[in-house]
């Protein structure tokens, strides 16, 4: 759900709006972004949700898809890699955001 709601608009912004100059040049500048994030725990929390949660969405769907197209025998290994990857990404996200 998080990915469905937030990602399209973010991708439009970082993919088209800002690089093509439809927004002021300093929209994603260090000063602006850094002060927005470091100054607010709520912003950090929202960012954490937007970045980390979709990794679980990926882990679940990707693992089941690989099993469905024939990799059923290594299903357990795939679970470890996918969910483990999502958990690692979550931890890394938390650490990085904490440090901003």
């Amino acid at each position: 759900m998080v990915a469905a709601l937030f990602l399209p608009i973010l991708m439009v912004i970082t993919g088209f709006v800002v690089p093509n100059g439809f927004a002021p040049l300093d929209t994603l500048s260090y000063e602006r972004v850094h002060s927005a994030i470091s100054g607010s725990n709520i912003v950090k929390l929202v960012l954490f949700g937007v970045i980390a949660l979709p990794f679980f969405h990926w882990a679940h769907r990707f693992k089941f898809t690989l099993v469905d197209i024939g990799l059923r025998k290594i299903s357990l290994l795939l679970s470890v890699l996918c969910y483990g990857g999502a958990i690692s990404a979550t931890v890394v996200t938390a650490i990085i955001l904490w440090q901003i």
Binding site: A4, P19, L28, E31, W58, I69, A89
Partner: protein
């Protein structure tokens, strides 16, 4: 002796609904890919202005446009296929009649519009900080 038929690994290529299902599931890779990019931006941010400006500069690279375009198409497919099935999951009966599917899905699309507008306003709106 009953005969057990084998399922080929190409089962999903044999009918359009199955193919579209696999495409739908693989959109999760685009989702993870973009979140990985956001994570990388955050990492660069934590390393200071120079590291960050290098990282954000990537969005002006020609490959960025292509990747964003493909990723966006996939992520949109993900959003649309998801919202369109929500009426199957959220079933409410008013008396004997079901709340129409268009209202359930519509509510999600409305929420999507509102969220996108909010994010756009926060990121692109005038004013130097959130």
């Amino acid at each position: 002796m009953s005969y057990i038929r084998k399922v080929p690994n190409t089962w999903w290529l044999q009918r359009k609904p199955y193919f579209l299902f696999i495409v739908r599931e693989l959109t999760s890779v685009a989702v993870a890919g973009y979140c990985g990019f956001l994570l990388y931006l955050m990492y660069a941010l934590s390393k200071g202005p120079v590291a960050y400006s290098d990282a954000i500069g990537l969005i002006t690279h020609p490959a960025s446009y292509t990747l964003h375009m493909i990723g966006l198409l996939l992520v949109l497919y993900h959003t649309i296929t998801w919202f369109n099935v929500t009426p199957k999951v959220l079933v409410f009966h008013l008396g004997e009649e079901k709340v129409p599917a268009v209202i359930i899905a519509g509510a999600h699309y409305a929420g999507w519009l509102a969220t996108s507008a909010l994010v756009a306003w926060l990121l692109l709106g005038t004013g130097t900080s959130v």
